[in-house]
Amino acid sequence: MLQHLSEFIQEYGSLILFAGFALLTLGAAVLVVTARRVTHACLSLLPCFIGIAGLYAVMASPVMLAFQLLIYAGGIMVLMLFAIFLLERRAGPITAANHYVFPAGLIAGLTAIAILGALQTESFRNRELRPPPLEMRDRATGEESWYDYYDPQTQTAGEQPSTNLRRTGFYFLTYYLLPFELTSVILVVAMVGAIVIVRREKGWVAAGRMPARSEERGVRSESNGTATAATEGEEEL
Amino acid sequence: MILSVLLALPVVGLVIVLFLDKERHVRQIQGVAIGASLAAFVWSIFMCMAFATEPSRGPMAMRLEYQAPWIPSLGIGYHVGVDGLSIPLIVLTTALSLLSIVYSLRITVRVKEYMAWFLLLETGMLGVFVSLDFFLFFGFWEIGLVPMYFIIGVWGGPRREYAAIKFFIYTLVGSLPMLLAILACYFSMPEPTFDMVKIMQANPMAGAGVKAALVFWAFFLGFAIKVPLWPFHTWLPDAHVEAPTAGSVILAAILLKLGTYGFVRVILPMFPEASARFADYMAILALISIIYGALCAMAQSDLKKLIAYSSVNHMGFVILGVAAVAARGGVMASITTRTTALNGATLQMVTHGIITGALFFLVGVIYDRAHTRNINEFGGLAKQMPLYAGIMMFACFASLGLPGLAGFVSEFFVLTGSFSSYTLITCLSAIGVIITAAYFLWMIQRVFLGPLKERWADLPDMDWGEIVATAPLCVAMLVIGVYPKPLIAVMNGPLTAIVDHVTRLAGLG
């Protein structure tokens, strides 16, 4: 039975794992999209990312697993949360009801069908879709390891750094140096842009480039109707 | 590689100048401009040495050649190369650009734009002499045009707009048929290419009677306007009179040579039969240019117009030399006489550039002081400005072809060379030499000799800047006049090859 089980797992283990993580991701995704409170939506992003990380693990890409969790879950989601908290601090709990649900659903459905339909076209169908056998073995030392695999088809032993992470680093700095550098540039540009957009200099208010904190309030009644009286002393938003 | 650097130097200067501020960095702009042109000049000297050391693969072959695919699908390549014919012209261009930039340090209006346009002009000119690909050739030909328009249009004399527009449109009208002709050559090649060397070897226009004639006359029009040849010369006096001194120096010394260079580089080697067929018309037009130019010069009262018409006269000799090479009727013409004519024509380009460049500098000298160019208003300047009078008379005598100075050497070779091809026309054009002597001496007599008019009693003599600008040219005139062997030795090889090429293909017995 154990033998049978291990064969079964051997055979379909990855499929089961895939199904589990898929379900997790999709469920969280639906939640993100439909949650009333935006904070809930943001928080439900976490299980979604974890699911996706799992999928990366199934696809034998430990680096992605790590980065996914690190950046998305740790970075971006937290950033979103901060933003939401900032806003909620000023405007109270933000709810985001859905509108145009029907047209949105229709369009989303249509795109899904279009993509899935595209998958059926013969350019994808005859693709040899079975995963090439992986030998989970540490390249340098050659013995079994859980974190490193060695794909005999494409890599030859020795000439490149052994582990996936090391190889990613190696690739980043050799064959993909230009994209790597460009992304760093974009990153810097984005950060600077973000700061420039939200900064508030002395004298701008006087110069009329920005509405003083007091006027900001009265332009549009906030969705939840309560305009909290913001006193002068508050720190900058 | 060397040639690409040569082209790049003025551009680098140009870019630096563009970055400098208009008001604050005037001195730096001038410094950069001089630096760039000096670097270009020094580099052209280095190029000559490299040219000398590189073993030549046969007389017709280009040296310092650099070929790189540019737009391969259209057969356009960045093909630059140099041979005996273009080396002297390149050195002349860089030298004169340097001198004119040194001379135009006294320009105060819009210095930045002036220097920028000048460096761009220098690039355009160098580009034409260096390029061996029609696409490149035409590109630099047009690049050379625009800065001149602005230099005349902005810093010129009273009627500058008219002169600038006339110059620009006239030359543009000329270059349009040339473009069509280039395309005709492009398509008539077995596998379409713009490469001039391939076109020259393949001689695409061999059989095509009417088409060859049309292409020949299209190129002829384009270059004749630039030379300028007789009916197309009316833009030259206006352009010269209105251009600032340095502008008219470059215009006279180099831009005219683009036309004549075109004749020797494009028309002769690439269309031997057509040029042989129409050589007689070229000779007649050249004769008219010579005599007509000299007579008009005699009738002028404006100093610059006089020298402009003298340029028409001298360039007529060049075209006579070119026509003599391709003359079919020459009963006695042999390879030696035809090559002598062509040697004379090419040397005339260089010497005319030097002499007329010096003459225009000198006219600039007197114009800056007296603010008039009317010959009749002057009188007896030799007493007041002895050094200036000395150099001016030296240049005038060089221009009218006094032996021992550069003017004589080239005119002598053109006349003796083309005598056997066109006996009567050469004799008539020798009369041009007399008329040239007449109007130059008459001008000298009215301006320098005779009693000093009290109005000019306080004219200062030449200052340091002007001497630096003209002295090297005078030395060059003397050296070429006394011992032209090194210069002609450089030119003789490729020119013999061209004459051989033309005689062989055009079947001139």
């Binding site: - | 007579l295 009738a299 390879i335 032996p403 006349l415 030499v433 000799l449 005779g450 013999t496």
Partner: protein, 728 residues
């Protein structure tokens, strides 16, 4: 063989004056301030050393000619044989490569077309006996004149500049004489023209001097035009332009006779311009505007002689057998052209000389006349060749003497040039008077002592043998020479006091009189060298440079064969020439010496004399004729061209410009408003409609945009699916 020591220094001869000129132009003014007139010593040194070298060369060549084993010396030798003088000394450097240097360079097809010329145009010196003689003469005369001009030009503010130009002139004249190739000859030729321009126009403040200089240069240039065409013809046949090669090839297949004749005629036109022969003689009298030493050196001794020297040098072209019969111009062979131009000039100038009052003008016309004589002598082919050259040498000395004498007279009379105002200078300026007298006697050909007699007599003898009528014209010219020279002597020196009392004549300083005396000695002594007789030294020496007839050519030569022993001594020409000279002197004495004839009264009495005198005084109105025809004609033509260019050619261009702006623009505007515009408006309206619909999409809401794009993407995917994905 004497070691060619001096000949190796030959290249120094032209170089030193050039060096002196360079120094004087560069630092002349500064030196003048520092060491005053001694700055002229640079120029004098610059000509003295070449003088020594030249005389050295002359000595070595003389010794070679006469010292050589006397194989040809036996008396009574047949006239045919030419004297083999010492080999000419040659030195050449490559000047410019022309054409294919070796046939290998050419493609096989054109290889056979290229002539034998190896493409190296050489430029160099060549010395033979004729050159040696000329060199000696030029350097000596130039040196004496430069010494003389130290005194004459004293006090002139552009003193160093004068000597710079004089040295430049010496350089170019020596270059011309030493020339081995036509190129150098032409270069020297034009440079000499330049120096005469600079020196005539030395006092350029004077407008007359400036225009005289210009006139001189342009007239020379007209002559050079012919010279250039001659060179062109020669260049084709003998591309190396080497004189000896050209002369050797003359008449052979390389240089066919008819081309030789034409080349000869063209080169002679150059000589006409330079030596002021008949049609182009107008510039020489005006050249007197320059300082007197200039007139002496350039317009008497050397430059004008260059034309004669050149004709002498290339006279082979005239006497080559086949060419001698070929009519070239108006039925005359090139040799006859030279002869008749020569004699016409001699007679013409001689007659004009009589009516001139300016002392320098008289001498100028006398020079033109004597040059006519020389050309006339050369024009007689072999017979007159040596005589012509001999007369050239003697004339240089005594004419220089006369000019310098007139210079010291003018200097003495404070710049006065009009003879009628002078008089009785005999007592005031004794040395000038005596040297002047020597020169005049030599010029007029008074027998026995003076050089002029021997050289002119030889020309007359040669012409007597060759061409009788021309002989009598020659004698008439000699008579005129004697007449005007006598008039000059009596007007200036005779009488006891100057007619114009304001003149206080005083003797010129020693630095001027010493050269006069040396020249006087030469103008006497040189004649003896040429005395006829079997050992005629001059004939013997110059014979070797005479035109070498190609050996195989037989001797049906106009004017008889060359006569080595000099012309047989004929009594008739001798008497006639002596009588002519005597008659001239007698008439001069009668009219101006003893004043037996009152000229004004004579003129009323015999109107033709008055008319003739007026014509002569105005120089046959040549100047006026030339001015009216050529000068004003060219100016009118030039003005015509100028206007034509301005209004017609430029007019067409502007017309085209105007047409495009006015006419076509108008048409374009019409077409534009109706057709094109209409169409455009139509499209505009349709555009607006579409625009309004499109605006609907522009809701400003981000979500709408994403929705639309996703929708479109889905639709495209559907389209691909439906159309079966192959068309992507």
């Amino acid at each position: 063989m004497v070691s060619p020591f001096f000949e190796n220094l030959a290249w120094l001869i032209p170089l030193l004056p050039l060096l002196a000129c360079g120094v004087l132009i560069g630092w002349g003014v500064k030196l003048h301030r520092k060491i005053g007139d001694r700055v002229a010593l640079i120029a004098v040194a610059g000509i003295a050393i070449p003088c020594v070298i030249a005389w050295g060369i002359l000595a070595s060549r003389v010794s070679q000619t006469f010292g050589a084993p006397h194989e040809a010396g036996t008396h009574g030798e047949s006239a045919r044989e030419t004297i083999e003088g010492p080999e000419p000394f040659e030195m050449a450097v490559e000047w410019a490569p022309l054409g294919p240097l070796s046939p290998a360079v050419l493609s096989p097809v054109t290889r056979d077309l290229s002539p034998a010329f190896d493409g190296r145009l050489k430029v160099g010196l060549r010395i033979d006996n004729l050159t040696a003689a000329m060199l000696a003469m030029i350097t000596l005369v130039a040196m004496l004149i430069q010494i003389y001009s130290i005194g004459y030009m004293h006090g002139d503010e552009r003193y160093p500049r004068f000597f710079a130009y004089m040295s430049l002139f010496c350089f170019s004249m020596l270059l011309l004489v030493l020339a081995g190739s036509f190129l150098v000859l032409f270069a020297g030729w034009e440079l000499v023209g330049l120096c005469s321009y600079l020196l005539i126009g030395f006092w350029f403040q004077k407008p007359s001097a400036a225009s005289a200089a210009k006139k001189a240069f342009i007239v020379n240039r007209v002559g050079d035009f012919g010279f250039l065409i001659g060179i062109m013809i020669i260049f084709f046949h003998v591309p190396s332009l080497d004189i000896r090669a050209a002369l050797a090839a003359a008449g052979t297949a390389a240089f066919p006779p008819h081309w030789v004749a034409i080349a000869g005629a063209c080169l002679f036109t150059g000589a006409i311009g330079k030596s002021a022969q008949f049609p182009l003689h107008v510039w020489l009298p005006d050249a007197m505007e320059g300082p007197t030493p200039v007139s002496a050196l350039i317009h008497a001794a050397t430059m004008v002689a260059a034309g004669v020297y050149m004709v002498a040098r290339i006279s082979t072209l005239y006497v080559v057998p086949q060419v001698a019969e070929l009519e070239v111009f108006a039925g005359l062979t090139s040799l006859e052209i030279v002869r008749y131009i020569g004699i016409i000039t001699a007679v013409l100038a001689g007659t004009i000389g009589i009516a001139q009052n300016d002392i320098k003008r008289v001498l100028a016309y006398s020079t033109v006349s004597q040059l006519g004589f020389m050309m006339f002598a050369l024009g007689m082919g072999m017979a007159g060749w040596v005589a012509g050259v001999f007369h050239l040498l003697t004339h240089a000395f005594f004419k220089a003497l006369l000019f310098l004498g007139s210079g010291s007279v003018i200097h003495g009379c404070g710049g006065e040039q009009d003879m009628t105002k002078m008089g009785g200078l005999r007592k005031a300026m004794p040395t000038t008077f005596w040297t002047f007298l020597m020169g005049t006697l030599a010029l007029t050909g008074v027998p026995l002592f003076w050089a002029g007699f021997w050289s002119k007599d030889e020309i007359m003898a040669a012409s007597w043998a060759v061409d009788q009528p021309v002989f009598w014209l020659g004698e008439f010219a000699a008579f005129c020479t004697a007449l005007y020279m006598g008039r000059l002597m009596f007007l200036t020196f005779a009488g006891d006091h100057p007619r114009d009392h304001s003149i206080h004549a005083h003797e010129s300083p020693k630095v001027m009189t010493v050269p006069l005396t040396i020249l006087a000695v030469f103008s006497v002594g040189l004649g003896w060298l040429g005395m006829p007789g079997d050992h005629n030294l001059m004939h013997h020496f110059l014979g070797s440079s005479a035109p070498q007839i190609a050996e195989h050519a037989e001797h049906a030569v106009a004017g008889g064969a060359i006569n080595i022993a000099g012309i047989e001594f004929e009594i008739v020409p001798l008497c006639v020439s002596v009588m002519a000279a005597g008659l001239g002197w007698l008439l001069a004495a009668v009219i101006w010496g003893w004043k037996l004839v009152d000229v004004p009264r004579l003129k009323q009495a015999v109107p033709p004399i008055a008319w003739a005198h007026n014509v002569l005084k105005n120089k046959y109105f040549f100047d006026e004729i030339y001015h009216a025809t050529f000068v004003r004609g060219t100016l009118a033509l030039a003005a015509g061209c100028g206007l034509f260019d301005k209004y017609v050619v430029d007019g067409i261009v502007n017309l085209v410009g105007w047409a495009t702006t006015r006419v076509f623009a108008g048409l374009a505007r019409l077409a534009d408003t109706w057709i094109v515009d209409g169409l455009v408006n139509l499209i505009a309206e349709a555009q607006k409609l579409a625009g309004r619909f499109a605006a609907m999409l522009q809701t400003g809401r981000v979500q709408h945009y994403i929705a639309f794009s996703a929708l479109i993407a889905a639709l495209i995917a559907a389209a691909i699916y439906v159309l079966g994905g192959h068309w992507i």
